[in-house]
C-alpha cells in the first residue's frame, strides 16, 4: 500500500512539475467539485449527473488516502475539461469502469469469466460493472459488513433477494448473522457463474459443503457435518460427481443439494415450507422421479447412515454381505491352498 501511495504521489508530482499550469491536485478539483452540492450536468437523456464530490465520504473510502481524482478521471487533467458525448448516465459509468483494472487487474480478469461480463459483451448495458457493486467515491472494504453484500446484489436482483430474505440463510443475514452465506459465497464475486448452465447446481456438494462440513460452525446450530459424505456415498452424489457437469444429449443431471433443499428459498427441514419437509417430499422427489408415490421418499435415507434403528433392512443386507463375502473368499482360498499343497506333496 505504501508503495502504491508513493507511486501515486510521484506521478502526481511529475504531472505537477510538467504541467504546472494545470493543477491536478485533489484540492484544485475539489475547489469546484467539492463546494457546491447542487453542481450537476444535464444529459441528452434528461438525466442529471451530480458533479459534486463529498470530501468527507471520499476521504473515508478505501482510496481516500491513496488516489487522486485524475488517477481515475484521467481525461479531466486539463481545464476546461474536454466535453464528452455522454448521452445517458449509463454512458458515464461504462466509460469510466475500465479505469479500475489499472490497479485491480486480477479481479478485472476474473470478471471476464463472469456472467455479467458475458451479458455486457452481448450488448446488455445494464449488466453490472465494477462501480455498480463497489460504488465509486464511497468504496468500502469488500464484504464489510458481510450482510451488505446481498443488499448490493438486490439493487438489480430484487426478486431473488426477496426469496432469499425469507429463507433460513437470508433471515439470519437480516438479523446481522455473519455465519450464513450471502450471494457471493455461492455465486462468487467477480467470476460469477451463470447458474442457468447447470454447472453451479452440480457443484453444490462442494459449495454447501464449505460450511456444512465445518464442525465448529455447524456445532453452533446443532447441525450434522455428515450431510455431504452421506450424499456423496449415495446414488445422487455418485452420479453427480461422475457427471462432472457434462450433459449428454437427453441426460438429466443427478440431483445436487439445491435440487431437493431449494436454492434461494432453503428452509429448515422442519419448516412446513421446506421442500424436504416430510409432507412435501413426494412432490420434491417427483420433480425428477415421475410417478413417485407416498413411500418413494423412503428410498432416500435422509442423510443417515443405515442403522438397525433407522433403516433396518438396508443395515441387515449390509451386515449380511460384510460377513458373507470374507467367509466365502477365505473358504475358497483355503480350499485352493489345500488342493495345491496336495498336488505338490503328491509329486
Amino acid at each position: 500500500m505504501a508503495k502504491r501511495l508513493f507511486l501515486a504521489l510521484a506521478v502526481a508530482l511529475v504531472a505537477t512539475v510538467a504541467r504546472a499550469e494545470v493543477p491536478a491536485e485533489q484540492d484544485s478539483c475539489l475547489g469546484c467539485h467539492g463546494s457546491d452540492p447542487s453542481m450537476s450536468m444535464d444529459l441528452p437523456s434528461g438525466e442529471k449527473v451530480s458533479l459534486h464530490v463529498d470530501l468527507a465520504i471520499f476521504g473515508k473510502s478505501v482510496h481516500g488516502d491513496m488516489l487522486r481524482c485524475t488517477d481515475c478521471h484521467t481525461d479531466k487533467a486539463d481545464y476546461p475539461h474536454e466535453s464528452k458525448p455522454f448521452k445517458t448516465r449509463r454512458d458515464v459509468t461504462v466509460a469510466y469502469y475500465e479505469q479500475c483494472k489499472k490497479c485491480h487487474f486480477a479481479n478485472y480478469t476474473k470478471t471476464l469469466d463472469g456472467v455479467h461480463y458475458q451479458l455486457a459483451q452481448k450488448g446488455n448495458r445494464q449488466a453490472a460493472l465494477c462501480v455498480d457493486c463497489h460504488g465509486s467515491h464511497a468504496i468500502g472494504r469488500p464484504g464489510e459488513p458481510r450482510t451488505r453484500v446481498s443488499v448490493t446484489c438486490s439493487n438489480c436482483h430484487q426478486k431473488v433477494f426477496d426469496v432469499y430474505s425469507s429463507s433460513v440463510h437470508g433471515k439470519a443475514v437480516t438479523q446481522g448473522n455473519g455465519d450464513v452465506p450471502v450471494c457471493t459465497d455461492c455465486h462468487r464475486a467477480h467470476d460469477v457463474a451463470d447458474p442457468r448452465a447447470g454447472a453451479l447446481s452440480l457443484r453444490t456438494a462442494e459449495i454447501c459443503g464449505r460450511c456444512h462440513t465445518d464442525q465448529k460452525l455447524m456445532k453452533r446450530y446443532n447441525l450434522s457435518t455428515n450431510v455431504v459424505d452421506s450424499y456423496l456415498s449415495d446414488f445422487h452424489g455418485m452420479a453427480a460427481s461422475l457427471q462432472k457437469g457434462k450433459k449428454g444429449k437427453g441426460d438429466r443431471l443427478a440431483a445436487g443439494c439445491t435440487d431437493c433443499h431449494g436454492v434461494h428459498d432453503i428452509q429448515r427441514p422442519d419448516d412446513p415450507r421446506s421442500s424436504v419437509m416430510q409432507a412435501n417430499l413426494v412432490k420434491t422427489c417427483g420433480k425428477c422421479h415421475e410417478g413417485a408415490t407416498a413411500d418413494f421418499p423412503k428410498a432416500w435415507m435422509s442423510h443417515y447412515e443405515p442403522s438397525l434403528k433407522k433403516s433396518p433392512l438396508v443395515w441387515s443386507v449390509q451386515v449380511f454381505y460384510y460377513v458373507l463375502i470374507p467367509f466365502i473368499l477365505i473358504s475358497l482360498l483355503i480350499q485352493i491352498a489345500l488342493h495345491l499343497w496336495r498336488v505338490v506333496v503328491n509329486r
Binding site: 449428454g248 408415490t293 435415507m301 433403516s311 463375502i325 489345500l338 496336495r342
Partner: protein, 236 residues
Amino acid sequence: MSEAAVKEKAGYLVRFTPAQRVEHFVTMVDFVGLVATGLPQKFYTAKWAQALITAMGGIDSVRWVHRFFGVVLIIAVVWHGIGALRAILSRKVGFSMAVNKRDFTDAVQTLRYYLGLEDHPAAFDRYDYKQKWEYWSLMIGNVIMILSGLTLMYPTFVARLGPGEIIPAAKVAHSNEGLMAFLVITIWHIFNAHLHPDVFPFDASIFTGKISRERMEHEHPLELARAEGREPPGHH
C-alpha cells in the same frame, strides 16, 4: 465311421451341446461387460474407476451399457431356466446339477484327501461338488442381481409395491453381490478352469464341447461308466 465313433477313437467325448457352449460364451461376455461397467460405478471415487468411466463415454452411457448387459443376463437366465426345466421334465436327461447328499460326502472326502487323511479324492459324476456350488452360487446370485438391478432401474414402480426402503437395500445388495460374484469368478473359476493342475493353462471343453476320455476317467468317472454301460468304479 460315424461321428461319435471318430470322437471315441480320437479319445474324446462330447461333454457340452452346441447350445450349452453358446450359452456359456454369451454369459461369459455378458459377465465381463457387467463387471466392466458395474465395478467402476461401485468404486467411483477411485482414479482407475473414473478413468474407465471416462473412457467408456461418461457415467450416463456406462449406465445404459450396463442396463443392456443386464437385460441380456435376464434373457440368458430365463433361457437357461427353460432348458433346465425341460431337462428335469424329461426323464432321460434329468437335472444333473441337483444337489444331493453325495455332494456333501464328496466334499468331506475330497477335503480329507487334501489334508492327507484319505488316499483318494471322491469319484465324481457329471458335475462335482465344486461345480455345483459355483453353479448354484451363480444362479442365486443372478436372481439377486436381476431383482435388485430391476429395482434400481424402476425405483418408483417398486416403491408402489412395497416399502421405499427396498430401494437402498437393493443398492447395497446389488453392489455387494456384484463384487462377490466378481471375486468368486476371478478366484474360484479362474483357478478351476485355468490354473488347476489338471487343466492348466486352459480347460477348453466348454468352448469345444469335447473332453478327453482320460480327463473323464479322472474327473467324472461315474458319468463315464454310466455312458459306457459299466458299473461305476468302486468308491468309498
